[in-house]
Each structure stands twice: as C-alpha cells, then as structure tokens.
Symmetry: C2
C-alpha cells in the first residue's frame, strides 16, 4: 500500500465475483498487474489484462469479476469504502487496513 497525497494506491488480489456497487462520491481506477479482470457495467463489460487501466466514473455501478484471479492496483481517495454504497460480507473494515 502506498499513499499519494490523500489517495490510496492498493494492490488487491481478487478471485471470483466481487459485490456489485457504486461510489457516488468518487471515480475509481483499476490497473491490472497480473491475471485478468472483468468489470461488469450496466451497459456492458470491460476485460483488462496486465498493464491495462480502466477508470469507473463516480456513480456508475460496477462488479469486478475474475474467475482465474488477478492482481490489481486500485487508486481511490483514502476514505473510499471498497463496496461503495452496497455493504456486503466483502466490505473491508478500513480501520484495519
């Protein structure tokens, strides 16, 4: 984990389906470092491989899925909740981060 001003740069290892959610207050960047990540959107989906970047605009529902696993760099403001407006059993306690 690194910080850039008031942003977090976090490497997340994902596998399977994440909670569909949105962040009403911020954009969120996904940069795949290894593996493959698909981001399901309301009007389609985008699949990213290593070195590929996608920014989900604020307020847009998205569901990251990675059947085979991926290592992803997430870039977002420090206080961003990982499941946005949709609490689930995958919601991280950022106080522990």
């Amino acid at each position: 984990m690194a910080t850039l001003n008031d942003y977090d740069l976090r490497v997340a290892r994902t596998h399977g389906e994440f909670t569909r959610h949105r962040h009403p207050e911020t954009d969120e960047a996904f940069l795949v470092l290894a593996g493959s990540l698909t981001i399901r959107l309301d009007d389609g989906e985008v699949t990213l491989g290593p070195g590929q970047l996608y920014v989900v605009p604020r307020g847009v529902h998205h569901q990251p899925v990675s059947p085979d696993g991926a290592e992803v760099l997430l870039i977002e403001p420090r206080e961003t909740v990982n499941t946005g407006d949709t609490p689930s059993n995958l919601t991280a306690d950022r106080r522990l981060a």
Copy 2:
C-alpha cells in the same frame, strides 16, 4: 490518458535522462508498465521494473532515468508541470496535452 477525479493518469514513454526537479505541492507516483526506470534521489536511487510502483513525496528532488527506455504510468494532480520547479527544454506545454 485517463482522469480520476482531478488527477491525471498518463502513460509516458521515457528514454535517457529527464530533468532533475521536484514538485513542492504534490506527491507523484511512478508505475512501470514496461522496461526499467531508475529514479535518482538525493540520498540514493530506486530502480523499478514492470508492475513496480514508487511514490516520490512532495518536495523531494528526483531525476527519472532510463538508458534502455521505459513505459511508465504517472499519477499526479491535473495541473502538475512535468518538470516541477525546474523549467527545461523537456517541460511540456500542458495546454497541448
């Protein structure tokens, strides 16, 4: 080029020695996508390969160098001047970006 809130995410292709400079007002993140990048600091240097990230804190002099070339993702606030406080012939006109 992508934007994340009021930040720019820019892929730069670097080769050779960049201007030594600092950004008094902001941190700056370097993520190498391909090749190898060395960042010279006043008290040492760090060399990054693909997938490796380094954040130069605000106010810290740094000189990116890449003898063999590198593709680098830069993350910084939108109005950041690429050569910081040190104008040079490498200073980009961000009005054209």
